[in-house]
């Protein structure tokens, strides 16, 4: 796979370079995602101090000290509301949130549901490796049935959650998909996500050679294709949904759905209309006398 970088991007990317050594397993898809994030930020002309990167807990969360930028590494399952709260306080700063499939479809599934329906202006990146990596390979909601896993020696008795149908049922304003081996594609969709007006859902199918032998690097490489290159336009909800759902033969990647005509959560806040400042800039003693009158 090709990673053509002009020298400017390379330099900007290097600004995100962190001295700490990566600790993922050999062949882990997190390496690719990590690279693509740095590249997408660089190509979006965002410097390290110009972004807040929020990480959930998990193997992917170990990115938090392998990259520069303002970073946050929070609690298992809770990255979306923290990122959303941060964004609402300072909507000028780009905010990205990263979470695993365990975090996002089990412990924190409520936050994903409400993050999408709230349309917070943040980019959410799903490190979808089909299992709980960091806790040594338990099943997530996205693990296939019939697959023996740590703590599920007989395979899971639950249905595997159809994540794309689920996400589309929440009327998202941006849905993209890529896989961890295709840095070009990841860079493209991440840039689009960063530029999106509301909540951007980016599903990255991530190889986990240690615990996931059903959706491996080569499996993904074989099936994933660039749907946009094949002519898919992301403006049709029903088509996008159908395309996202049908993974029986090939897996459509790229920006699958996007609409920019819906205001974000912040834009819908009545009290913030026409405000020139952000909440971060407004911290000061406020005189309450005018409002005390109605209590007299």
């Amino acid at each position: 796979m090709s990673i053509p970088l002009d020298s400017g991007t390379a330099k900007k990317m290097f600004a995100f370079h962190c001295g700490n050594q990566c600790t993922w397993c050999d062949g882990c898809g997190d390496y690719g995602i990590w690279t693509a994030v740095k590249r997408a930020l660089s190509e979006s002309d965002i410097p390290p101090h110009g972004v807040l990167l929020c990480y959930d807990v998990g193997c992917h969360g170990n990115t938090s000290d392998k990259i520069l930028g303002y970073r946050f590494h929070g609690l298992h399952g809770r990255v979306i509301p923290f990122a959303a709260g941060a964004k609402l306080a300072n909507p000028r700063l780009p905010v990205m949130a990263f979470g695993g499939d365990g975090a996002s479809f089990s412990e924190g599934v409520g936050h994903l549901v409400h993050g999408i329906r709230s349309n917070y202006p943040i980019a959410f990146v799903l490190h979808n490796n089909g299992n709980y990596g960091l806790t040594t390979g338990q099943a997530s909601s996205l693990t296939q049935q019939g697959q023996p896993m740590n703590s599920s020696p007989n395979g899971i008795p639950e249905h595997t959650l159809n994540s794309m149908d689920f996400v589309f049922s929440l009327e998202p304003t941006f849905v993209a998909r890529a896989w961890s081996g295709d840095i070009d594609m990841m860079t493209k969709v991440l840039k689009a996500a960063i530029g999106h007006r509301g909540f951007a859902f980016v599903d990255i199918l991530q190889a986990c050679p240690t615990y996931n032998d059903f959706a491996t690097h080569s499996f993904l490489m074989e099936r994933c294709y660039d749907a946009n290159a094949e002519g898919h336009l992301p403006d049709d909800f029903a088509k996008a949904r159908a395309l996202a759902l049908d993974t029986s033969k090939r897996i459509a990647c790229g920006v699958l759905f996007q609409r920019e005509d819906i205001p974000s959560f912040y834009e819908k806040l009545e009290p913030r209309k026409d405000k020139k400042t952000t909440a971060v800039e407004e911290v000061q003693i406020v005189d309450t006398r005018a409002w005390e009158k109605e209590f007299v």
Binding site: S64, R71, F72, K87, L269, T278
Partner: protein, 596 residues
């Protein structure tokens, strides 16, 4: 001190609160200090509820168990509350053909209680008014019984319903006149509540405000620009209040999908650099505790409001308790610096908000502000708030561009920082970046699992606790002399030392003002800061006091437990209440004077 009380009872939704509030406003404007206390059930409509006003020309912040006037919307009040009426008191009701049980009848007669039947329905029908105006009619009779003028009431009504147009006002006025006229037909127009003290005009311009509203204004005053909450009694009213104010204040208000979300959003907003708060009650707070722990390790200033009600579980959602003090101190896993403080009335519900943010930002750690249903929903007569007192202290927050440039990533969690307080700077600042790291980390927020680092960082974070302990105030002693209150800074000898916290303050003060035994030296030691726990002053005062009593609205005597846990003395003599009700002034007085 002369005090009178009147209580309105009825089914929820019948207008009990609206009559209570109208009377409160009228009385306050007429020059009285009013304390309003609500009881209602965890239902939407139909439950038995009451609104009691205790009224005096001096400061008052408590209720009595007995009342001078009882207003009953329906027969339940007549059944349940009639015995609460004092000698010479009045019962006003609207239940046709009502007959008390013999026993009650006898008691009422012995006490010389006058019972007035107001045929509201007939009157309203006659006036062709909407049923809702029954409230105004009842209020006008109460008003007349208080010996006040119809004009005062009309003024209030004009203010409140003026926007509804002239017709509405006209009908309201008619009801008021009808109410006054009605009373003329009773006992030759002579029936009146006699014992209302002389008014004192100092109260006229005070606010009538609930603890929740006071807290909301306090948050706004403190520069809080975002509030994330989730409805749960008795914290919901704070959420409603700041939400209702949002178009005026410009605050970001989020009713989140659950308490975890509310806590996380608040945390994100604080991390980004604004001031934000969240609030809930015990059950919701349980869910927030993991986030409390998170804020401790990333050293994120954060403010959690914990409004208590009786537990466990759903418990008694609309009643009061102080059963969550150990929760505030002991919950959230791991060991770290936290500050727990408790408001006691409308005054510090406002004042402590800026204090909470200042401590949170100065020590970069979670602050838990406790309140309870009693404070949150009681109506206080409150002096307009001092706008000059509060200052914003953002602690070691670096914003100067030059200083920012000089920062290194490793400054953020520098373990050698004085008092453990290292510089903090905000995402977006042109400076070296760091990781706000939820795993144990070293100076720049990189994960570090070494033994040496674990010790350094643990000690860094806990040194903040020591510094905080030095900074926060010892509990405050109020001495009661000849019924007057005075803050006493010396460690004086006392005959009776009462120790408590939170909402008990008002009733304790009121009880001690009337404490029997001339010349006895009594004092009240009030704990505003509960963690870290300071016990020195208590120790000194207690060693000199003839008798020390702990007063709490819980079963365990939790303040006492915390004092002991922190190496302080054991207060054996305890007055504990855990029936969902606050202490009443007469009740507490007799408990305090009982030998033990």
């Amino acid at each position: 001190m002369t005090r009178v009380s009147l209580k309105v009872t009825g089914a929820q939704g019948q207008g009990v609160n609206s009559i209570g509030e109208m009377c409160a406003k009228g009385l306050k404007r007429a020059g009285y200090c009013v304390f309003g206390y609500k009881e209602y059930m965890s239902l939407i409509k139909g439950g038995h509820s009451s609104y009691q006003l205790d009224v005096a020309s001096e400061a008052i912040e408590s209720s009595e168990t007995t009342v001078d006037m009882l207003v009953c919307f329906n027969h339940h009040g007549l059944e349940r509350n009639a015995r609460e009426v004092k000698s010479g008191g009045i019962i006003l009701h609207q239940t046709p053909q009502w007959k008390f049980s013999k026993e009650v009848q006898k008691t009422l007669e012995e006490r010389g209680v006058r019972v007035v039947y107001l045929p509201s329905e007939d009157v309203i029908k006659k006036l062709k008014a909407k049923p809702i105006l029954g409230n105004v009619l009842v209020t006008s009779v109460v008003w007349a019984l208080l010996g006040r003028k119809a004009e005062e009431l009309k003024e209030l009504v004009q203010e409140q319903f003026g926007h509804k147009g002239e017709k509405v006002i006209e009908m309201n006025f008619k009801c008021i006149e009808e109410g006054f006229a009605f009373l003329q037909t009773i006992e030759n127009g002579k029936l009146k509540m006699e014992n209302l003290p002389k008014p004192n005009l100092e109260w006229k311009d005070h606010l009538l405000i609930t603890g929740s509203e006071a807290m909301g204004l306090g948050l706004i005053h403190a520069g809080c620009r975002m509030y994330c909450g989730y409805p749960m009694t008795p914290s919901s009213q704070l959420l409603s209040f700041v939400a209702d104010m949002q178009n005026k204040t410009g605050m970001v208000i989020k009713q989140a999908e659950d308490e975890i979300t509310a806590a996380q959003m608040m945390s994100g907003a604080m991390h980004m650099g604004t001031r934000a708060a969240t609030g809930t009650s015990g059950g919701g707070f349980d869910l927030m505790t993991e986030t409390v722990s998170l804020n401790a390790i990333i050293e994120n200033p954060s403010v959690f409001i914990l409004a208590q009600r009786p537990g466990p579980a759903t418990g008694l959602p609309t009643w009061t308790a102080q059963g969550d003090l150990l929760l505030a101190v002991g919950s959230a896993h791991g060991e770290f610096a936290r500050c727990v403080m408790a408001v006691s009335d409308a005054e510090d519900s406002y004042d402590l908000m800026s204090e909470a943010f200042n401590i949170a930002e100065k020590y970069q750690t979670p602050v838990i502000v406790m309140t309870d249903k009693q404070i949150a929903e009681a109506l206080f007569t409150q002096k307009p708030y001092d706008q000059k007192k509060a200052k914003i202290d953002r602690g070691n927050l670096v914003t100067d561009p030059k200083a920012l440039k000089e920062l290194k990533s490793t400054d953020r969690y520098n373990p050698t920082a004085k008092d453990g307080i290292s510089p903090r700077w905000l995402p977006g600042a042109e400076a070296a970046t760091y990781c706000a790291q939820g795993d144990e980390h070293n100076a720049d927020g990189s994960v570090d699992e070494s033994a040496k680092n674990a010790v350094e960082q643990m000690e860094k974070r806990l040194r903040k606790m020591k510094a905080l302990e030095r900074e926060i105030a010892e509990p405050v002693l109020t001495k009661i002399e000849n019924g007057k209150l005075k803050i006493e800074n010396n460690d004086v000898d006392l005959d009776l030392l009462v120790v408590s916290w939170g909402s008990n303050k008002g009733v304790i003060m009121d009880a001690l003002k009337g404490h029997k035994g001339q010349g006895r030296k009594v004092g009240y030691l009030h704990y505003t800061y509960l963690w870290p726990m300071k016990t020195e002053r208590l120790e000194k005062l207690m060693s000199k006091a003839k008798r020390t009593v702990l007063v709490e609205c819980n079963h365990g005597g939790q303040l006492g437990m915390l004092i002991q846990m922190s190496g302080g003395p054991t207060i054996k003599d305890k007055i504990l209440k855990y029936d969902g009700r606050p202490f009443f002034v007469d009740e507490l007085q007799s408990l305090l004077s009982a030998p033990c």
